[in-house]
């Protein structure tokens, strides 16, 4: 049957966007961070990214086949889930754990809820959190990665900057390193220990700007997220500079940049209205800082986003725009 004979209802003008095109844009946006990951962590980055992507695509195909749906791997969303999950893993993680996380992310967190568009939680984050809770030893042991002088207290360290801060603060000691402009530059470029895709803020920002330019994401969620973290940590810093690092550190360190630009902005699991996005971003920011400052874990980005994912439907309800011509809610007469 020719396409010309298909009759469908309006709208007939198509913007040209499709799930596949958006996903392709996201993949392109992740390439700088992937390059940075390979530059800093070498073979381990290649190993983890390929394992996660292959496992995600295979899990998606098998799960959909088994559930009697069409294969649907051509929308590339599984590739993104795999890449994001790999970005959230420490370089020394055994390959089989990465595969377990990928299968969990795709089968349990995505396909069992109905597949793309129906999952309440970001699948990559669900996979990461599952791995973090299941295998805490492996997920928090960092490779013997040589940290360059500005941050390093030793030539070789086995903790992330956030981890060092947490340990120091918990034991009541002073901050483990001073944070100045050269340290900030190291963090910005990615000369720090951490998960393979989160270390280089510069590469992530490059990708984020590309997504903004391609209109795959709007500024609201990342803006509100980063802004809230900056304000929250700024207040703490002003109150007690002995125990808290500057807002710049909190914005550049850990998985915040990756979370704010690539994971909190996931279309399926974040609110649809602009106001809702601001609330969502601010909520993520507050939760992240609460966990970083007072929680048991040094980093709180993944938990913060997962928790905000859970209340996304409520945010959507609360920020539903007024129907054009309708009366303000609360003034309803009937």
């Amino acid at each position: 049957m020719s396409d010309l004979t298909i009759v469908s209802s309006s709208p007939h003008a198509h913007s040209g966007t499709s799930v596949q095109r958006i996903m392709l844009d996201v993949i392109v946006a992740m390439l700088p961070a992937l390059a940075a990951a390979i530059y800093f962590f070498g073979w381990d980055a290649v190993r983890l990214v390929s394992a996660c992507v292959l496992a995600c695509v295979a899990a998606e195909a098998v799960a959909r086949k088994w559930m009697g749906r069409d294969l649907g791997v051509y929308d590339l969303s599984a590739v993104i889930t795999g890449m994001l999950l790999a970005f959230n893993l420490p370089p020394s993680l055994p390959t089989w754990m990465a595969v377990v996380g990928s299968v969990f992310a795709i089968v349990i967190a995505k396909q069992l809820f109905g597949g793309i568009g129906y999952n309440p939680f970001n699948p990559a984050l669900a996979g990461r959190v599952m791995l973090l809770i299941s295998f805490p030893v492996f997920m928090t042991s960092w490779s013997q990665w040589v940290i360059p002088a500005p941050i390093g207290i030793d030539a070789v360290t086995t903790a992330t900057p956030l981890g060092l801060v947490k340990t120091a603060v918990l034991s009541g000691g002073a901050l483990p390193f001073t944070f100045n402009s050269s340290t900030a530059l190291q963090l910005f470029l990615g000369n720090q220990n951490g998960c393979i895709g989160e270390v280089s803020a510069a590469a992530l920002l490059l990708g984020g700007l590309y997504l903004l330019w391609r209109r795959c994401i709007s500024w609201h969620i990342p803006g509100a997220y980063l802004g809230t973290v900056a304000i929250f940590s700024g207040i703490l810093w002003l109150l007690n500079p002995e125990q808290n690092l500057s807002p710049l550190f909190h914005v550049l360190a850990g998985g915040l940049m990756l979370g704010a630009l690539f994971m909190a902005t996931d279309m399926v699991t974040s609110p649809v209205t602009k106001r809702g996005m601001l609330v969502f971003g601010a909520g993520c920011g507050v939760l992240t800082m609460l966990i970083r400052k007072w929680g048991g874990y040094p980093e709180g980005v993944s938990f913060a986003i997962i928790l905000m994912n859970a209340i996304t439907p409520l945010i959507n309800r609360a920020t539903r725009p007024r129907v054009f011509g309708g009366v303000k809610s609360g003034k309803k007469t009937s």
Binding site: M67, G68, R69, M97, V100, I108, L112, F113, G114, M130, I133, S134, F135, P136, F138
Partner: protein, 225 residues
Amino acid sequence: MKFWKELVKGLWKENPIFRLVLGMCPALAVTTSVENSLGMGLAATFVLICSNAVTSLLRNLIPAKVRIPCFIVVIATFVTIVDMLMDGFAHELHKSLGIFIPLIVVNCIILGRAEAFASRHPLWLSIADGIGMGAGFTLGLVVLGATRELLGAGSITIWGHLKWTLVGYEPMILMILAPGGFIALGCLLGGMNHLQARAAKRRGTIFSPPAHLDCRSCTMCTFGK
């Protein structure tokens, strides 16, 4: 034979956990190990048999209007008896089950069987129902507990004697935490539906799950369709 039928229905056809989906609080909370599951299941079975028997005996004496308070008093009495007996004679088990023993009172299965079965059937059938349902409940808990302990701790230990270990396996701690309970229960429920759907297909009939587990209104998968 009727007695036999009431006895075995709880094991598979009307399994309290996987078919009736009752008693989810203990099913999720205490199944972190086989040992706890077994203890909880046996304690609940004891209460179930006793309360079924007493309810059945009193079924013509209890006025319909106060039947629920009466059932609850009967159940609570037996639960407290189990609690005290366990504390006295199985102290270790009592310690590890902790708060969940008193909570047997509010376990839906026990009140549910008293209300739905024992209050309208003679003594011997009610006892059979109690034994069958209790065994089914215990079986469900043990299956769930074994799954979670094996995956979450990497080994199964029962009272320190029997010990199976998965060699070379890195335990997934998630499985013995609360989310693992939900995930394991969901997967087992799904698997059970799948098995029954397949068996129905082979027989040439259509599998219809219990109302609250019905997939017919859902378009997520084609199990049983």
